[in-house]
Amino acid sequence: MKLTLEFGGGLELLCDSKKIHNVNVEQQNGEDKLTMKDLLSWVRTNLIKERPEMFMKGDTVRPGVLVLVNDCDWELSGQLSTSLEEKDVVVFISTLHGG
């Protein structure tokens, strides 16, 4: 499944300072469905190069990270259970405090 993943607010530093990743994610166990839970584990394995604890805590993102699926907060689509479709855009962004 082809997806566009974007990292921002400093999270890009965890994956070679690259903000936009066009990726092709293989579905797990030959299933058709890919959920955000599957994607998070794929990202952790394949994209996060350092300090994984700055990206995840337990089986979800760490506090202070917003997750957006097609410009929409994943809280509105079911968080970890959100189903992804071909060409979806998923943004991971760390909240900023500076001024």
């Binding site: 921002g8 506090p63 809280e75 509105l76 943004v91 405090h97 500076g98 001024g99």
Partner: protein
């Protein structure tokens, strides 16, 4: 506590003529602005343009909270301060700049750090709060205080080459804790002093904060509530995304929350976020 309700003087009609001509704004927009009061917490990178544009636009009473002194290494982004104010309180410098732009409004100085002991008393005097601060515990403190007092909060942040903006606690929308119930690890809370910031990035976000505060004060347009603006200066890309609504489980604003003024006064924001609310003003070491 609002500014005295009165119409526009002939001088004000001339000064604000470009606003009065706007079909969506007009005389009632300008009068609403003049009868409103807005508090900007932080006279730094975000507060500089926010304060200048709010003063220029004719907000009736404009409050400024800050405890810092102007330093040379602020000046690449904090355009409200001039070199002649280096070493003096930011509140004094910012208030003077606002008055020199617009002597027809009231500018109030709060030269102190915002803490649980003074926040209720200060924020209650204003209709709209602008969060232009630079650290996590103060952001939770301001949001909780706005929830307890029922005030809309225009929240901006900038770091590096990125900025973020939204309106909290307005028209049934979420508060800061609805989005971030658990504070991030302290290692994730970079500050401008550690990581740097391109000066004009908080400039852009601070202007957008002034705009959102003006829209709320005048009931003109759709405020950025339930939406968040994400700005990436490097690629010149801007996303406006839909965020969650008010959370029923929110400890501050949720249905069953009993977060009272008393609890707010006793809440330990430094312990909650494992971060100090403010560092004391640095001594200049030039």
């Amino acid at each position: 506590d609002a500014a005295p309700n009165k119409g526009l003087s002939p001088e004000m009609i001339y000064r604000y003529s470009r606003h009065l001509l706007l079909p969506n704004f007009g005389v009632s927009g300008q009068e609403n602005l003049f009868n409103s009061s807005i508090l900007v917490v932080g006279a730094g990178g975000l507060g500089s343009p926010a304060l200048l544009y709010l003063a220029a636009s004719g907000v009736g009473r404009l409050g400024i909270v800050d405890h810092d002194l102007v330093e040379l290494n602020n000046m690449h982004r904090q355009i409200i301060h001039t070199e002649s104010y280096i070493g003096q309180p930011k509140v004094k410098s910012a208030a003077s700049a606002c008055r020199s732009l617009n002597s027809s409004i009231q500018v109030v100085r709060h030269q102190e750090a915002l803490r649980t002991s003074n926040a209720l008393e200060i924020l209650t005097k204003y209709d709209i709060i602008v969060d232009a601060t630079d650290n996590a515990p103060t952001r939770y403190l301001i949001s909780d205080c706005c929830v307890v007092l029922g005030k809309p909060l225009v929240s901006g942040a900038a770091l590096g080459l990125e900025g973020q903006l939204t309106v909290y606690n307005h028209n049934g929308g979420p508060c800061y804790r609805c989005l971030f119930p658990t504070p991030p690890p302290t290692t994730a809370c970079q500050r401008c002093a550690d990581s740097g910031v391109l000066g004009v990035v908080p400039g852009i976000i601070g202007c957008l904060q002034a705009l959102e505060a003006i829209k709320i004060a005048t009931s003109v347009g759709e405020p950025l509530s339930g939406r968040m603006l994400l700005f990436d200066a490097l690629s010149a890309r801007i996303r406006i995304v839909k965020i969650r609504g008010r959370s029923l489980q929110c400890e501050a604003c949720g249905e069953n929350s009993k977060f009272t003024q008393q609890q707010f006064r006793e809440f330990d924001y430094e312990n909650f976020t494992q971060t100090p609310l403010s560092v004391s003003p640095l001594k200049l070491k030039l």
